[in-house]
Subunit: 332 residues, 2 copies
C-alpha cells in the first residue's frame, strides 16, 4: 500500500510559498502488531502548524524536514492488527497531510456517534471547538452576562467562541473582514466590526461604538492592531484569553507590540496564553455536552472545504489570507 | 493655623519640570466636629502620582488643578475633635504634599506599635510593602522555590519583593542600574543584572545567563525593554504581576510595546495588572506578619530621604531618574 503525503524540505521565512510543500509517496511496510491502516477522508489544516515549520520547539515539537507533515484527520480503518479496531471503523488521529496513515492503535480514537457529519470532529467537536470552550470558560473565566470580544470571529475557533459567548447573555462583538463573514455574525446576533481599512485607533473607536461599556472578556486569535484596539476597551477586571496571534505567525522579524499595554494595569486586567492540549481533560465533557447541540442545529458551524490531497498547501496558506470561513478542511 | 502645600496648575506633558509644582499656603478653618489636625513629619512620593497629574481617571481619581496634591503621610495629631484621637497620637493618612493636614478622623489611622521608625509605615510596612507582598503572593501566586525576576529591584517595592521572594527559596534576579544598587542586591543574595547600556536583546541575554532555567514569576515595575527581556525568559506557566510600568509614565505618546508578546502563548504565561488598593484587605495581616521581621532587622529596607517641604518636587522627579534607593521620602 502506497501513502502519498506532503513534506517540507526547508524552514520557511515569512509567509510560506506554495512551492515549499512537496508531495511525495512511500510504500508502507506490512502492518506490525497493534497497528492500524487508515484511509483518510478529511484532513485538517490549522494556524498552529505554521509554528511547527520553523524548526524550533515552541509549545509543540517542530516538523521534521523531509518527513511527512502531520495534523488532525478523520478516516476509516481499512486494516487492523489491533483488537481495538476493525476494518470499517471511523476514527480520528494525528496522521494527517496524507491519504493513507499507518499508526499504532493507541494513537487513534473512535469517532463518537452523534448525528453529525464525520468532519465535525475536526472542527466544532474537535480541537477548534474545545479550544473555544476552554478559552472562554477555563482561561477567561467567562461569567453569565459578560461582554465578550472575539477576533477572527468567523474562523474555526472564533465562530464557535462567539456562539458560546452569546448563549451566556452579554453583548458579544466579533471582529472579521469580508462582508459575508460580517453578515454571518450579524445573523447570529453578534455585533460585527470590520477590521478592514482601519488602523488600531480606528478599530478601537469602532469597538467602543459597538460596546460602549467595554469588554469583560477578549478572546484573542489575531494580535497586532486587534489586541491594541481591544486593550483600549477593557472593563476593570477584564480577562484576555490568548489563543493565537495569527497576525504575527509569518513575520520575518518581531513586529512591535501594542503601545497601550499599561491598560492591563489601569484596568487591572489579566492576559493569559494557553494551548488547548494542556487542557484536553475537558474534551470528552465538551463533546458530550455539545454533540447533541451540534446535532440539533442549535450551534451553527461553518466549513470551508477544498478538494483533493493536492489542495492541502493552498488550504493551509488560505488560513493566513482570510480565505476560510469557519473550519478549513480538505476532503479526499 | 496655616497649611503650606504643593499644587499643580496645569497637566504636564511628558516628564514634569520642577516649575510645575507651586508652593502655596492657606489659612485653615477651625476644626469641625470629628476632625483632627495633624503636623506631618514624613511625606511619601510615589510613581503612581504621575498618573494622577494627567487629569483623567485611570484607576484612581486625578488631582484637581489648584487644589493641594495628596499622598501618604505620617504625622502627629496636634488637635482633635474626635474621640478616636488625642493630641500626641502618631498617625498615617493621605493628606500629604503639605505640612499641616486637617482631616476627618475616619480618614486617619493610628500607627501600629512595632519597634520601627515611624516612616517605615510609609514604606516597608506601608503601601510599597503591601504592594510587594500582594504582587508576589496574590497576583503571581508565587510558590516555594519559584525563580523570580524583579525589575526596579532596588526601588521601594522592588527591594522588598526581592527579599520576600528570596525567603521562599528559588533563584531571585533583580534588574537595577547604579553600581551601589547592584551591590546591595548581591549583598542580599540576589543575582543583580544591570540594565544600563543594554538594549532588550542584550538584557535578555544577561537574564538568561543569570538564570538559565527561566523565571516562574516576573514582578514588573518598569515595562519597556525590561518586559521584552523578561518575556524571552519565562518558564512554561509563568506569572507576571504588573505593578507598574514606570518607563512609560512620562511618555508623550504611546511607545511601541514588546515585539515578543507571543511568548505569553508559547509559554502559556499569565500577565496581570493590579492596584494594591483593590487588595487592601491583606494589609493588616501583612503588617502583623512583617512588623516583627522588620523590627528584628531580618528585612532590610532602604530609604532615600530629602529634607524639607520645599524638596518634595525634586524627590518626586527623582523617582523617574533612578534617584532613589528604596523608598523615597521627604522629612519635615
Amino acid at each position: 500500500m502506497q501513502s502519498r503525503y506532503f513534506t517540507i524540505n526547508e524552514h520557511p521565512q515569512g509567509l510560506p510559498t506554495r512551492e515549499l510543500f512537496q508531495l511525495e509517496a512511500l510504500e508502507l511496510p506490512a502492518l506490525a502488531d497493534g497497528e492500524v491502516l487508515i484511509r483518510n477522508s478529511w484532513l485538517s489544516v490549522d494556524p498552529y502548524m505554521r509554528g511547527r515549520m520553523d524548526g524550533v520547539t515552541t509549545y509543540i515539537e517542530p516538523f521534521t524536514l523531509g518527513e511527512p507533515l502531520d495534523g488532525a484527520a478523520v478516516g476509516e480503518v481499512i486494516e487492523s492488527r489491533s483488537a481495538r479496531f476493525n476494518a470499517g471503523d471511523k476514527v480520528r488521529h494525528m496522521g494527517g497531510w496524507r491519504d493513507i496513515a499507518q499508526l499504532p492503535a493507541e494513537q487513534v480514537e473512535p469517532l463518537p456517534e452523534f448525528d453529525v457529519p464525520e468532519q465535525a470532529y475536526l472542527g466544532v467537536l474537535g480541537m477548534p471547538g474545545t479550544t473555544a470552550w476552554v478559552g472562554l470558560n477555563v482561561i477567561a473565566d467567562m461569567q453569565d452576562g459578560d461582554n465578550v470580544l472575539v477576533s477572527a470571529a468567523s474562523g474555526a475557533v472564533g465562530s464557535l467562541a462567539v456562539q458560546l459567548a452569546k448563549a451566556k447573555g452579554g453583548t458579544v462583538v466579533g471582529i472579521a473582514g469580508d462582508q459575508h463573514k460580517l453578515d454571518w455574525l450579524e445573523s447570529k446576533g453578534i455585533k460585527a466590526v470590520s477590521y478592514k481599512g482601519k488602523n488600531a485607533r480606528e478599530l478601537s473607536a469602532a469597538l467602543k461604538e459597538a460596546c460602549p461599556e467595554g469588554f469583560d472578556v477578549y478572546y484573542e486569535n489575531v494580535g497586532g492592531d486587534c489586541l491594541e484596539a481591544a486593550l483600549d476597551n477593557l472593563r476593570v477586571g477584564a480577562r484576555i484569553a490568548v489563543c493565537g496571534m495569527i497576525a504575527r505567525y509569518n513575520d520575518d522579524a518581531p513586529a512591535a507590540g501594542p503601545g497601550n499595554l499599561a491598560m492591563l494595569l489601569i484596568r487591572r486586567a489579566r492576559m493569559q496564553g494557553f494551548i488547548v492540549f494542556d487542557h484536553w481533560e475537558h474534551h470528552v465533557d465538551f463533546v458530550n455536552e455539545f454533540g447533541p447541540r451540534v446535532a440539533s442545529g442549535e450551534i451553527d458551524y461553518q466549513e470551508t472545504v477544498m478538494n483533493g490531497l493536492e489542495s492541502l498547501p493552498d488550504a493551509f496558506l488560505g488560513l493566513f489570507s482570510g480565505g476560510n470561513q469557519g473550519k478549513m478542511l480538505v476532503k479526499l
